[in-house]
Subunit: 383 residues, 2 copies
């Protein structure tokens, strides 16, 4: 019995087409800074990838895209690089209560070094409180970081409205698009985005590459100085395989997103409808403004970790619980607490994130697995 | 006619055995932080790699090894992470004049933010001035960063002696081993090394992974905060393919280093002897205390860039000039200036770094290429 992988927010397989495209760079050495033929070929591969990523997000120019080692590094660069570079303007930063830890933790680092940090709340669906955002911004705010969509509850934030509020005051908006990229169309110009975080693996590209879009004119400084690659903004010999792969992954995502999204929304909605038939089960996140591949729940009186282990061992189905990236911590997800769940409710969460290997025919098996698992665990539960 | 690649300091092919070992992780998603089977398998792969790297450098424990995105990040972490974490002790840092830019530039960043930076000179062979090192260290020095061996001139530094000087004063020694790893034996315990930078690709592993060895007890803080991976010292979902590959690359390097080094030294010495027959040609770096795969020269009255382009286009041979990582800058190499070369001398440099695909039979073709190239360029030279 082949397994069903439903944890695409946590790690994604590399698309075979991406592998076929990028694999040649594993055998051909070539440092893009070298002047001989292999170096120039490597350089061309990097620029080709840059162009494809610029297209995915409708960047003004290819050179608005800077490659990094991943989304965590992109978020750190966007936040620390912008805050430190613009310190002369002020020492205030703003973010939301449901950001990824790779946004919240650099923000807290800044706070420790004397910055004022304001965390804007969200409502029970995970939607940002725009009035509170407005109130939080002052002329001293150098970077406001709000995610495009949330990885744990799937809610898509009102980027355009946020951007108008931020830009009205002449400030910079950073958007972490890790969960949204390749799932829904992103347009940095139309959306009014100054800095955007992207990750390769979340596009079915190889791990080890990320990117940051930087709007022309935005002042930012590197956090990893060295050999001066990527216009001095990110040093280190370029990870050619991962970057070329990320570019191709972006191209495929752009081409196929429309159709794929329709397919996944059908499966998602089917899953949500069927799983909510379980007693004392609840959808987390927004009922309609949510990512096409994202279905997230919490169940009363059971533990998410037990759901995960049962689903894996008894049904060969991989789901997530709490934050996809820190499920080994015992703390309940800060995202679920921020949308108003109690500790015990937050502990009973399950997150399903669909991908290219999933299809409608898997729905009955998944639903059966979830229903039986919840039932079994509740029987065992002391609560 | 197949080419001869002689620029292993710049970029290395991935060893086919490494690829075979690590490739499965490209198709199997699995976040090492996830609790289901794929996650646990990913976690095991990471720990297996950690063990192999600990063995390569004789670390006290596997958990002294922390994975990063590459050598540039490891150097930044070692330097900034240690300096900032131990700021209470003092705000002085020390390095040498021939370090890689990924050491020198974070040092300069610290200097800009109020640290005192002392740069210790080297002699004409690139050997660190130990007396000046001793004079530079005070009780306020929080990190001293000296490379194991130099990437541009091949000189191996007296690590043990340096370490004794640094430790006599109770201070931390960071060693960038990017150029030395896999080429000569490294023993962090015997060598008295507190922090060590390693890179995957320089071991014939995939790009996109690096590591840092941290001696038990050394106080350091992360530079990329986020999800808390790698014991909180390096956040970001682990690059499984690159890390597993780096581990296997380390295992192969450890097993084969002895024999391979004998093979490369023979080829290196043959090349040096033959190339120095050219008039007004000089070896750069130390005549004997040099890396087994490293032969570096400068030639009067010609340009390194022209040598590189001629060797590539006319002989299919790839060599480097100046710094392997910044050969597109017009500045002469800071390393060559530090060993006392004049600007015009430094511009006429050529660096050969051998690897597994090279063999003695290639020597005549390489030597012929270099001799004819130098002769041709000198005829064209206005000097």
């Amino acid at each position: 019995m082949k397994g069903i992988y439903l944890d695409h927010a946590s790690a994604m397989p590399v698309d075979p087409r991406v592998l076929a495209f990028a694999s040649k760079h594993l055998n051909n050495p070539g440092n893009p800074s070298s002047l001989y033929s292999e170096g120039l070929e490597a350089k061309r591969a990097i620029e080709d990838a840059r162009g494809k990523i610029a297209e995915l997000v409708n960047a003004e120019r290819e050179h608005c895209i800077i490659f990094t080692g991943g989304a965590t590094e992109s978020n750190n660069l966007a936040i620390k690089g912008t805050a430190l570079r613009n310190m002369g303007k002020g020492k205030e930063v703003v973010t939301s209560a449901i950001e990824h830890m790779s946004v919240l933790n650099p923000m807290k680092d800044l706070q420790k070094s004397g910055f004022k940090l304001t965390v804007v709340p969200v409502d029970s669906t995970g939607m940002l409180d725009l009035e509170k955002l407005d109130d939080s911004l002052t002329k001293n705010t150098t970077v406001t970081s709000i995610m495009y969509a949330n990885n744990e509850i799937g809610t898509i934030e009102p980027i355009r409205e946020m951007s108008e509020i931020v830009h009205e005051k002449g400030l910079y908006l950073h958007v972490d698009a890790t969960a949204a990229e390749g799932r829904i169309p992103i347009d940095v110009q139309n959306g009014g985005i100054d800095l955007l975080t992207l990750s390769s693996n979340d596009l079915y590209g190889p791990q080890g590459a990320g990117a940051i879009y930087i709007k022309p004119g935005v002042k930012i400084q590197p956090i990893l100085p060295g050999g001066g690659q990527e216009r001095g903004l990110r040093s280190g010999t370029e990870n050619l395989f991962a970057i070329a792969g990320m570019g191709e992954a972006a191209r495929i995502a752009k081409d196929e997103m429309g159709e794929e999204s329709v397919r996944l929304v059908r499966m998602r909605d089917e899953l949500i409808k069927d799983i909510l038939e379980i007693e004392e089960s609840y959808l987390t996140g927004h009922p309609t403004k949510r990512l096409p591949h994202h279905a997230s729940f919490h169940f009363d009186r059971i533990e998410g970790e037990s759901i995960l282990l049962n689903m894996d061992s008894m049904y060969g189905i991989q789901v997530a619980t709490g934050s996809a990236c820190s499920s080994k911590t015992l703390e309940p997800s800060h995202v679920l607490l921020a949308v108003g769940l109690k500790h015990e409710e937050a502990h009973g969460s399950m997150v399903i994130t669909l991908g290219r290997s999933n299809n409608l025919e898997q729905v009955p098996r998944i639903v059966k697995g979830v229903k039986e698992t919840v039932e079994r665990l509740r029987k065992l539960s002391p609560l």
